[in-house]
């Protein structure tokens, strides 16, 4: 294990930096992960050797770029166990994927008086598009609320999802609390009423094996940068029949079949939803990241991250000054821990930790309605990746113990 960790850490150049003359401890992985040198090198190689516009030229470089781009699509398909590579649309990120669904799908599905269901856990990116659709269509936005543990109870699902529901859009794993939602249950229930289910997989896809068929979802979105890939590449997965129904979101090059002066017909899936020159370098980065994850094995990644999370939870539970949010049971959550230190605002906690080289997130985590619901202004969040270690957690906890003293409290 020790050798394995040493090898892994060597792959991530950013992790061996000194910050504020202290070794960097990067616990902000739910925001974005660092990139292994395999991904960084792939991007350099792409620009040194390939770089051409895909799907266009008959020349060697264009063919290579097309191959890379389509190999990446197939790699993503296998990774999430989709049936066809036509079901994989490359986007900028999860946010863009959700906006495509809101404006090219939901706007044609939802009518006045219909209901859209989300949970109170949603990141703003999975809330604001639905607020817009509801407003424009005269539909109602309904929320699944939480029990004390941060989980969503069956009765909540059963009372909120009804025959009026056209769409359920829900996060798989909360970016703010780490809780994992009962997706199969929600999907089964929603489908009884013919409602479609969109899964925000931004936090889950990087950390657990995803089988879109088993989950039963209709659509899923995620971002590459939270799973070792570069920023600017994301994915929209959708069942082929549903994507086929969708109108294009952006119009322009590459997404067409025949173009006349006054009308055009559109290309087949997936190209219909990918207008303009695409992010080939990003798709390559994502493919390389997935290959890297597969080489370690998602089961091993999950085991390491679960071990780190329960180790940190136990240590934090023993500190009197720490208030923890979310499930106490590490089985119900991903590698995200939200907490506060008594009498201390999370921003002060984060600045003080930063001075020790520890990077955490402080704030509302783009989930203002959730913070209001929990009646807290903000939290401090530590989120782990498989490249983190228990020694780092020990140092983080020791640094946390000093926070109250910096603010003039006795202990």
């Amino acid at each position: 294990m020790q050798n394995f960790m040493q090898d892994i850490r060597k792959d991530f150049p950013a992790l061996s930096q000194q910050i504020n003359e202290k070794s960097l401890i990067y616990f902000d992985n739910a925001a974005t992960t660092h990139k292994p040198k395999q991904v960084i090198d792939a991007l350099t190689t792409y620009y040194e050797k390939f770089n051409a516009n895909p799907h266009r030229g008959a020349h060697y470089l264009s063919i290579k770029s097309t191959e890379i781009y389509e190999d990446a699509r197939e790699t993503v398909r296998k990774f999430i166990h989709a049936k066809s590579s036509k079901e994989i649309i490359f986007t900028k990120n999860a946010t863009e994927s959700l906006n495509i669904l809101a404006f090219s799908y939901a706007m044609n599905l939802v009518e006045e008086g219909d209901e859209i269901v989300v949970s109170i856990l949603e990141h703003h990116s999975n809330l604001l598009p639905w607020q817009q659709v509801a407003k424009l269509k005269g539909a109602t936005l309904k929320f699944l609320y939480l029990n004390k543990d941060g989980g969503i109870k069956d009765t909540e699902i059963e009372s909120k999802i009804t025959k009026k529901t056209k769409l359920v859009s829900i996060t798989h794993m909360s970016n703010a609390l780490g809780n994992i939602n009962p997706i199969e249950k929600i999907t089964t229930y929603a489908h009884q009423y013919g409602a479609k289910v969109i899964l925000d997989g931004a936090q889950s896809v990087p950390h657990m094996t995803i089988d879109v068929g088993k989950l039963g979802i209709d659509f899923m979105v995620f971002s590459g940068h939270k799973m070792l890939a570069p920023m600017g590449i994301g994915v929209l997965y959708g069942k082929e029949a549903l994507l086929k129904e969708m109108k294009p979101f952006l119009f322009g090059g590459n997404m067409i079949e025949y173009v006349y002066e006054d009308y055009a017909s559109f290309a087949e899936l997936p190209f219909k939803l990918e207008a303009g020159t695409q992010n080939v370098e990003g798709a390559l980065g994502l493919m390389t990241a997935i290959n890297y994850i597969n080489e370690i094995g998602m089961e091993k990644i999950q085991a390491i991250e679960a071990d780190l999370t329960s180790y940190a939870l136990e240590k934090l539970t023993n500190l009197d000054e720490v208030v923890l949010y979310g499930s106490k049971n590490s089985k119900d959550r991903g590698a995200v821990i939200s907490f506060n230190i008594k009498d201390v605002h999370p921003h002060d906690t984060a600045s003080i930790l930063d001075s020790y080289g520890v990077a955490v997130r402080a704030g509302h985590h783009c989930a203002q309605p959730l913070m209001r619901y929990l009646e807290i202004p903000a939290t401090t969040r530590a989120s782990f990746s498989f490249y983190n270690t228990k020694e780092e957690i020990d140092f983080f906890v020791e640094s946390l113990k000093k926070v109250r003293r910096w603010l003039g409290y006795g202990s």
Binding site: H345, H347, W406
Partner: protein, 140 residues
């Protein structure tokens, strides 16, 4: 970065036991300042008599830096004219942006000089300037 220069005694005193953390009855002006990226929200209340700020107070939630900065601002502007208060705001923001560096010019900031080092902590600049921007909006 030296945390001692940020979390100084003066700043801690103002953030924890501020005599300005209260509400004014029938304020002339009451203005909310919000920092959307972090959720800090303060309400600044002023009592004006002709052009003079006779009383000021704040309430709400914020970090040590934003609360201390608000409290020190209030001490500074009490019994000053609107124009003087606006001049203090411009000088303070100029200091944070490192546009005003002349020590004689900065002297009028008195205790608020304690925030000079906040520029070394870019993530916290917004916390330090929240109340000052709020005051400016409120007076304009």
């Amino acid at each position: 970065m030296d945390l001692n220069s940020i979390y100084s005694e003066l700043i801690l005193e103002h953030s924890q036991n501020s005599h300005n953390y209260r509400r004014i009855d029938a304020p002339t002006l009451s203005h909310k300042g919000h920092n959307p990226s972090c959720g800090d929200e303060i309400t600044l209340q002023l009592k004006l008599e002709s052009e003079i700020i006779k009383d000021a107070a704040f309430s709400g939630v914020g970090c040590a830096i934003s609360k201390a900065s608000t409290s020190i601002l209030i001490d500074l502007i009490t019994d000053k004219t609107k124009q003087e208060a606006l001049n203090l705001v411009d000088t303070f923001i100029g200091m944070i942006k490192r546009e005003v560096t002349n020590e004689e010019e900065l002297e009028i900031l008195e205790d608020a000089l304690a925030f000079q080092n906040i520029s070394n902590l870019p993530a916290r600049v917004k916390c330090a300037v929240l109340a000052w921007h709020t005051l400016k909006k409120s007076l304009e």
